[in-house]
Assembly symmetry: C2
Homo-oligomer: 217 residues x 2
C-alpha cells in the first residue's frame, strides 16, 4: 500500500492506519455516503455529514478518502460490487454471457440506489464531477466486455466486422433508457433484447442483398 511511504511524518502508525475494505466502519461509511448523496445530491454532500451519519470520526473518513470524489466513487463501487456487476460472466456462449451481464446491470440500475444514481447522472452535465466518477468506474471495468468478446470471438460467435464497443454502448444506453422510462424490466424482456441485438431485425433475404451490395462496392 502506497500510504506506507508517508507514515513517518509524526502521528503514531496506529492512528494513521487507513481503513481496510470490508471493515464494518468502511461499510457503514459508504452506506452513509450513499444515503447523503440521495438526500442532498453530489453538490451539497459534505464528508463531515457522512461521518456524522455513519457515527465515525471525520478524520477517520478523511484518512481513507481524502476527497469527496474518492468517497463517492467508493460508495458507487460498493453498490456495483453488491450487485455482482464486476464479475465477468463466463457461461460458454455469448448469448448467455450477455443475458447474465444485462440481468445484473438491470438489477443494479433498478434497485433504489441504482435509480437514484441514474437520475442524478441524468440531471448532471457530462462535465460534472459525478459524471466523471461514473465514467471512471465504467473504465475500470472494461475487462468485462473485453472478456466476453474475446471468448465469443474465439468461438466464432460474432461477425467479423462487428464493432464490439458499439454493441456494449448500445446495451448500456438501452438499459439506462429502459429503467428511466419504465418500472419493470423482467427476465423475459432481457432475453428478448439480447436476442434482437444478436440476431438483428433483418430478414435473411435483405441480409443477402446487403452483402451482395457490399461485395460489389
Amino acid at each position: 500500500m502506497k500510504s506506507g511511504l508517508r507514515k513517518a511524518e509524526g502521528t503514531p502508525a496506529s492512528r494513521r492506519r487507513p481503513l481496510v475494505r470490508g471493515e464494518p466502519v468502511v461499510r457503514r461509511t459508504l452506506k452513509a455516503a450513499m444515503r447523503e448523496l440521495e438526500r442532498v445530491g453530489y453538490g451539497a454532500l459534505r464528508i463531515e455529514n457522512v461521518a456524522a451519519r455513519a457515527g465515525v470520526n471525520k478524520t477517520t473518513v478523511y484518512r481513507r478518502w481524502s476527497t469527496k470524489q474518492a468517497l463517492v466513487r467508493a460508495a458507487l463501487l460498493s453498490i456495483a460490487e453488491r450487485h455482482d456487476v464486476m464479475h465477468v460472466p463466463n457461461t460458454g456462449s455469448v448469448r448467455d454471457d450477455l443475458i447474465a451481464l444485462v440481468r445484473r446491470s438491470i438489477a443494479l440500475k433498478s434497485s433504489r440506489e441504482g435509480r437514484t444514481i441514474l437520475r442524478m447522472l441524468a440531471a448532471e452535465s457530462p462535465e460534472s464531477d459525478l459524471s466523471a466518477i461514473a465514467r471512471s468506474i465504467q473504465k475500470a471495468h472494461e475487462a468485462i466486455p473485453r472478456g466476453i468478446l474475446q471468448r465469443a470471438k474465439k468461438r466464432g460467435e460474432l461477425r467479423a466486422n462487428l464493432e464490439p464497443s458499439l454493441l456494449f454502448e448500445l446495451l448500456r444506453a438501452a438499459c439506462d433508457g429502459l429503467i428511466l422510462r419504465s418500472r419493470n424490466v423482467n427476465e423475459r424482456f432481457v432475453v428478448r433484447v439480447v436476442d434482437l441485438l444478436l440476431m438483428g431485425a433483418q430478414s435473411p433475404r435483405s441480409r443477402a442483398a446487403a452483402r451482395a451490395v457490399r461485395h460489389q462496392a
Copy 2:
C-alpha cells in the same frame, strides 16, 4: 369544432373564440410554458405565470388549455413538431427510414428543450403527470413505427418472427440513454446503431447453428 356547441352561453362569440394552432399568441404561450417548465419544473408550474411570461391574458390561456396537463402536453407537442418527429419517413428502405427517424429523434432529444424534458422525465416517477403526458404523446404517434414497419414487411425486409414493438422500444431507450450519458451523437453513429440493430452481432455460422436448434425444437 366541438366548442361551437357551447357558444350560446352568454359571452359574445368573439371573446370565447378558442385560440387556433399557429396563431402568434399560441406560439408565444407554448414557448412561455416550455420556459416556465425549465425554470420551475412541472410541479410548480402555474398557468398564471405562463400567461404573464407570454404577455397574454390568463383567461385566454385557460380558454384553450383548461388544465396544466393540457398546456404542457401542447408545449411538448409543439417542440416535437418543430423537430419534424411526427412525420413518417418513407424512403423506400427500412434502413433509411430508421436512420431518418433516429436522426430526428436524436436532434429533438439533444436540443436544449429536449434535454430538459429528458432530464425531467428521468427525475420523475413513471406515475407522475409528466410521465403520463409523455406516454400519451408517444401513444398518439404510434402511426410512425407502424408505417415504417408495414412498408418494410411488404418489401420483405424484416424477419418473420421479429417483435416490431421491441425494435422501436430498444431504439427509443438507446436514444434516451445515449443522450443522457454523452454530449454528441453524430450522424455516423446513428447509422452504426441502426445497422447493428438490423444486422445483429452474430456471425453467419452462429446464426445457422441457432436456426438449426430452433428447427429441431
